[in-house]
């Protein structure tokens, strides 16, 4: 088994867990954690894949690395905005869940 495959499989696991939590959880903070784990899984797939494209000196492809750094900053920006929305929702309705998730 290669590093690319091992970490690729970890990436798939993270994508699956994150997506499930983002869709199934009621508490919005938990959904947000799911969204972040999903992102981490996508980054993991990308960086693991970069090790399949090594150059003559054995260095992995730098382009996915740069894209993932961009992705990390975008993910944190989105998280910060989502947290502000969550706090606003909580301040207004007293519950950190979406209206359709409040019953049952």
């Amino acid at each position: 088994m290669s590093l690319a495959l091992l970490y690729g499989l970890v990436g798939v696991g993270l994508v699956a867990m994150g997506l499930y939590a983002a869709l199934a959880a009621r508490h919005l903070l938990r959904r947000l954690l799911g969204f972040n784990v999903l992102g981490a899984g996508v980054f993991m797939l990308f960086i693991a894949h970069a090790t399949r494209a090594v150059d003559a000196a054995g260095r992995p492809d730098p382009v996915p690395h740069a894209l993932v750094i961009t992705g990390i900053v975008v993910a944190v920006s989105a998280t910060a905005l989502a947290l502000a929305l969550l706090r606003r929702l909580h301040a207004r309705h007293g519950r950190p869940t979406l209206p359709e998730d409040r019953e049952g």
Binding site: G8, R52, V63, L67, V76
Partner: protein
Amino acid sequence: MASEVQAFDLLLAVLLLWLAWRALASADLFKAVVQYIVFGLLLALAWIRLGAPDVALAEAAIGAGLAGALLLDTLARIGRAGVRDEARPLRLTRRRAGVALAVVGLAAALVAVLLALPPAMPGLSAEAMAQLERSGVSNPVTATLLNYRAHDTLLEIGVLLLAVLGVWVLDAEPRLDQAEAPAPLHWLVRVLLPLAVVVGGYLLWVGAHAPGGAFQGGALLAAGGVLLHLARPFALGSGWLVRLAAVGGFAVFLLVGLAMLLLGGGFLHFPPGQAGTWILLIETAAMLSIALMLVVLFVGRSRGAG
């Protein structure tokens, strides 16, 4: 980079998956967030193992550090009642069966794709390295961020700016009761803040030829700012100076890009001889802007000085 799988990799893989699941499924959200932060730090280790030290720096500083601080801050602000959640929040119920099935299907498809991929594939390494001498820097990741794919980075700073604007618009919440910060925190700030400024500046400079860069440096400066806020709460307000600093990184980036267009090279096409200077100018402005914007995301508009 050793490309064989070692026992360390297997251990890391299991730990990552376990921590991610605990971060999602812990009933206590405080525990969940702490586990998410530990997960982010281990993720940085995985990036090192995969030969991506630039990503590891960004992950540790931004992905684990600042995201963790933001999550904990929100937990504190929504209070004990808001943090309470069901005992088994992700338990499989009939309503969730469809979601679970779809997710398992997606995972199976992804695994099938992974197994079908050849172990070695052509990437963009060769091109990235061939053009490196003309890019103005010698770290291929920085060359990609600030030269080959500078549009991405320009728009990324734009996204950060939009998030800041959104937080400014939304941020009208009650202040936290500011307890007197404990003495060790003041001491810690005195030691760490100058260190954050020096290391942040170092990361910016060294990013031209080694792992580092504007984002990593900016995140470190921001971490110093967050620490300072915890020890001595301050309000940033939205005065013209703060606004100017928040927009500065994006504006300088855009203006340099337009200047290149006017000089005949095309938008964000740096002439090889001067590329290093332009990149350093953009990165310096970007680092200061990024640091300020990340602190704004934490401090918000009206809080502090309470």
